[in-house]
Symmetry: D2
């Protein structure tokens, strides 16, 4: 149940306090206040959580400050597609880069930052090919406690400086704890905010709800949330909704292969057939991550890497963002070297993606609208 408050309702007002006082006394009910501060008007919504079945709309509508009461019968309340009232924007712009279900952005970069030299070589190559987005891993979750876990805050200063130098506008960067967001914010500030950051939630944290809530509360950075590799799609979409229910609607969902282990010949079972599914169920842009899906540099008999083939598969069906690992010297990469593309393959990769994107646009332009069964 959602209470939509009167415009500009102020938490410090007597009425507001009366409202929350009454909510505090509801048995078995918790609530979350979500405020969206605009230039002219501030919108406040209160999400009631728990067993709201016993509450009536009438009962809640008479509470102080309440303008409207909405019963949340639909899944993915904020991010989902609903029969009525999808009036909220389905796309966003961040630092000059557009994200939506109609756009395509490529984020080529380093799975794990391992030295200023690699970061420099990577970003230099991106600039040469007109790219303004990249991925740079600083905080790396690893299965074993004894494995390398990224350089963390130490590498942020040079990563951000290099980004500024090469005109990078958005860096996708995984965080595994809320303190990392603070470290990123501080490092950006210290380097004069030369670039933007899209916070990334990894597949092992898809259901780390406390992290989602804390990352969702901030609205400075957009968020890329990876699908959980061992949970259902529905559970992953609910996880994305955690971000949105806290206020951050700049969310992109990333498909990265599932862990079915049915003798998967790739590192994971590529799930890019779900690109149209996610677009149908929600209004989020959909990212694909061929690197972690395929996990190896296998070449098909036609001379093309599986990595290229699956990237093409995602894009030809409408993917909106591609996360792809490169490395100047894969053999020396500290994490996931075997799946990294070479810098010499960047031009070809971008050309290949462009072909598939063009085909996607031609396919949708064929003009026949199907009706579902």
């Amino acid at each position: 149940m959602i209470l939509i408050l009167e415009p500009n309702a102020r938490p410090e007002s007597v009425d507001f306090k009366a409202l929350t006082g009454q909510l505090d006394r509801l048995p078995g009910i918790d609530y979350r206040v979500h405020r969206e501060v605009g230039a002219e008007v501030t919108l406040t919504e209160i999400y009631l959580i728990g067993d709201t079945g016993a509450l009536t709309v009438e009962q809640m509508q008479v509470l102080p400050c309440v303008e409207k009461v909405v019963r949340v019968s639909e899944t993915y309340r904020v991010l989902g597609r609903h029969k009525h009232g999808d009036d909220r924007p389905s796309s966003f712009e961040y630092n000059g880069v557009k994200f939506g279900q109609d756009t395509l952005q490529v984020f080529a970069g380093l799975c794990a930052v391992d030295s200023p030299e690699s970061a420099d070589a990577m970003m230099h190559a991106l600039k040469e090919h007109g790219q303004v987005c990249t991925r740079m891993g600083a905080y790396k979750p690893r299965t074993s406690p004894y494995a390398f876990q990224g350089f963390g805050a130490k590498c942020l200063p040079y990563v951000f400086e290099l980004a500024g130098k090469y005109g990078i506008k958005v860096i996708a960067m995984e965080v595994t704890h809320e303190s990392h967001v603070d470290e990123i914010r501080a490092a950006l500030k210290a380097t004069g905010n030369p670039t933007g950051v899209m916070l990334q939630i990894g597949t092992r944290n898809t259901q780390n709800f406390e992290l989602l809530k804390l990352v969702g509360k901030q609205q400075e950075f957009p968020v890329l949330i990876k699908r959980g590799f061992g949970i259902t799609l529905d559970e992953s979409l609910n996880a994305a909704e955690y971000l949105a229910s806290e206020g951050n609607r700049k969310v992109v969902l990333c498909l990265r292969g599932m862990k079915t282990n049915m003798g998967d010949p790739h590192r994971n079972f590529v799930d890019f057939a779900h690109v149209p599914v996610v677009k149908r169920l929600t209004r989020m842009p959909v990212c694909i991550d061929p690197s972690h899906s395929v996990g190896m540099r296998s070449v098909a008999p036609d001379g093309v890497l599986d990595l290229f083939h699956v990237a093409a598969q995602g894009v030809v069906a409408g993917a909106n963002m591609v996360l792809i690992d490169f490395h100047p010297e894969p053999a020396k990469a500290l994490v996931d070297g075997p799946q990294a593309l070479l810098l010499s393959e960047l031009a070809h990769f971008l050309e290949d993606i462009a072909l598939s994107r063009e085909t996607y646009l031609r396919r949708t332009a064929l003009g026949i609208k199907h009706r579902a069964n």
Copy 2:
């Protein structure tokens, strides 16, 4: 271990009998004789099965009729790609239609034949659009013993006659028992062999080894074998090898989605990322079956059916054959109606496939050959 016999070795000769007599006495060893009768020369190979580790090449080479002894250290001996000696043809032609890792054939048709009228309407539409291949299901394996299981032999006469009328050259048709092959052969003969048949082994029979052996022994019809939906890729490729080890090398492997049940939003988990994998591991042409993978007529927000999107995904990565369900009146289909395309969508489907195929060819023509890690 494979014994390659002298050319034209005859089973009825004294030497040949002496050879098999000696093989009969080997403890723990079974064997299978495979003869390939050519116009000028007949090749005979004997596959030794069981614990051949104790046998030496020298010991076997001196047996009567034996020309050469090959130790089978490699998987998928006949169909696989090997470092040495892939001298056997990797493609074939059947009834004027070519199948290989470089070609593309579309098999649009009925999942289950339910009436002469549907078959006529389907094939009429195919002819109108220049198609010479189709799928027609007569024998349908069903989960419940109380469900409709196809019209079987009853429908074959009109199916084959209509095929002749509309210029269909190859019909993909599932068989679930070896007696069906006889019924098909008889019905073809009775109708004057108006068309060709590609026998189809369904996903529930991928490891029905007795059926595979019997279907593999005949070399009249090529075979389309579906990947098992709950076994590993390696196990499915071994199943295809059963066909080939019995003599039939005209084998196509069909990807049809896996049964991971990780909350799959489609009927099955689409596995078309494995198109390049199967082509790398074997020399078989690779078919995709979007209908059974997706299993529903869901439409993406871009107006395109998921069925079209996943078909495009398979083709853009190099699929060689597409099996796709249509029905004149899906609502009246006795089996799998919900996933059938409408005849009015055939032209669009073919056009969409053509776009993806063209893109595949352009992609591979980009000309950079990658090296694996």
Copy 3:
């Protein structure tokens, strides 16, 4: 829909032919005649298959010979538990051995018969410990076409003769083709029917419906059907129902571990928690197969083999039959040696099983009947 005919209705009668003539004309409907010949009365049921939704009970009740019409709304019509009318027997006796949801039988034996010596040693040990059941594998389905596939019909004569010598009453024996049933029947006859055989359907053939129908049609031998390792429980129970719908109700379902491949530390994921589930959904006795579930001789720190632990788990929850691999010399076994127990462990195994069985009986005797939620 099931048509229950008048008692002693004869297929050769005019009425019966009139009935089938009318059924032949029903569009989209197939049917299967099932006769149960008793000493005094012969019962005939006709199962209508296909889209029976359009037929009415009234319409069918007036057909010749028809006494009663039952709409099959329930799953597992013959083997399942239903709210009304579970009047058919839920247990059976075969060759003096009882099978039901209340009994326990141990079938220790050879996964694959490899020599008369092993079979003799195995059965000798069984007799010494008072056992009258065993398993003996003659026909072995194998993933690779080049692996040993059992001695088949060749070993049957000595297997049956030894069974007679050692007082074995029932041998569980896998068949992978209907011709094997004929071979078994012939070999039994040739050796003077010294023992009984329970036909076993392996996990790769759980959905080999043609084999199920043919094995189900004969009522001479009871059938042990293994759960499919990559399909749902519902699908496996439907497979068992194929046997019953053809007339053979002496069916035991065997749990043998699932192929989840989630990094299973055993060969398969042990599914013996489903013992009570199968007993709740159907009236079949439930067998467990610890050997194929665990697949290895791993020892826990308490000195007990995992094989013993999981067998105890199945029995303590009410399993009715245990299939367990032994071998006089596991290192020399042609199939699955690593999982075989030693003959010297037989006494301990039987004692361990007896402890768990006693505990199961004490547990159920605690006397509190729970009510489900």
Copy 4:
């Protein structure tokens, strides 16, 4: 690689600083300092993390303060079983309760605390039956952001006070964020430390490595870590090792069913066959959670709940701890009511568990030690 320092090495000493200064300069190497403060001696170990392959033992041994260098070649360095040097204790006592691979403790309690009344009724029943352990859920991770997520810190005061009143010594309580540990510590202090708490890491946080590190750093509370429901056993054991590598060795691993979704007839696929596996791979006590595995109150035809049957299966194979949900009024439970047992079933449950435990002890006392293959 682990550097074991000289006893009583002090971080503030010059030598120590010299050491860490040198470690800081190692390329691609991170490190973690772990100190175990004893009454007489303080042990310090430094875990080197990352690509340690290039470092030699000789090179590290000469660094200041270093007494010994151990290359970590084995998995689960701290918790695992190793061929050499398992000198660290494999069991522990907390608040008077023993945990080890030889003991058995039952933790019956509330999945989610919903009122002081339920908590009182639950603990009252436990005391009546001589139980000193319980489970009480305050922080509940939920799939949907709009579902009830536990009363959190609000309920801790009365939960702890009631625990004191009824003589509860250990409460298993899930935490989903490190701040919860602080809240628990504070509430315990505020109520005069009337009871002990075993921190619980839920299945969705098994790979929330930041939480594991922070919980592992504290050594006040033992930790119960649940196996991840969609990852491999190896990955879950590595997660437990995260706790131990930070210093907390009082770790219990909990099996709670896997999410295979192969049409599981229970909420999860019960994995209690892995009890002996975890005991073989590690020295941790093994807990089972029948409630979350089964997830429903289904009754077998023998009158026994599946919940009882699977609990018996875990215990008969040597489980060391049982986590089981009860509720005074399941229909009113805010979370997972359908799987909760009734207070009236507690006596029967404990008796049933005792029977299985006794059987386990008799089974292991049979006295034959097996050798693995």
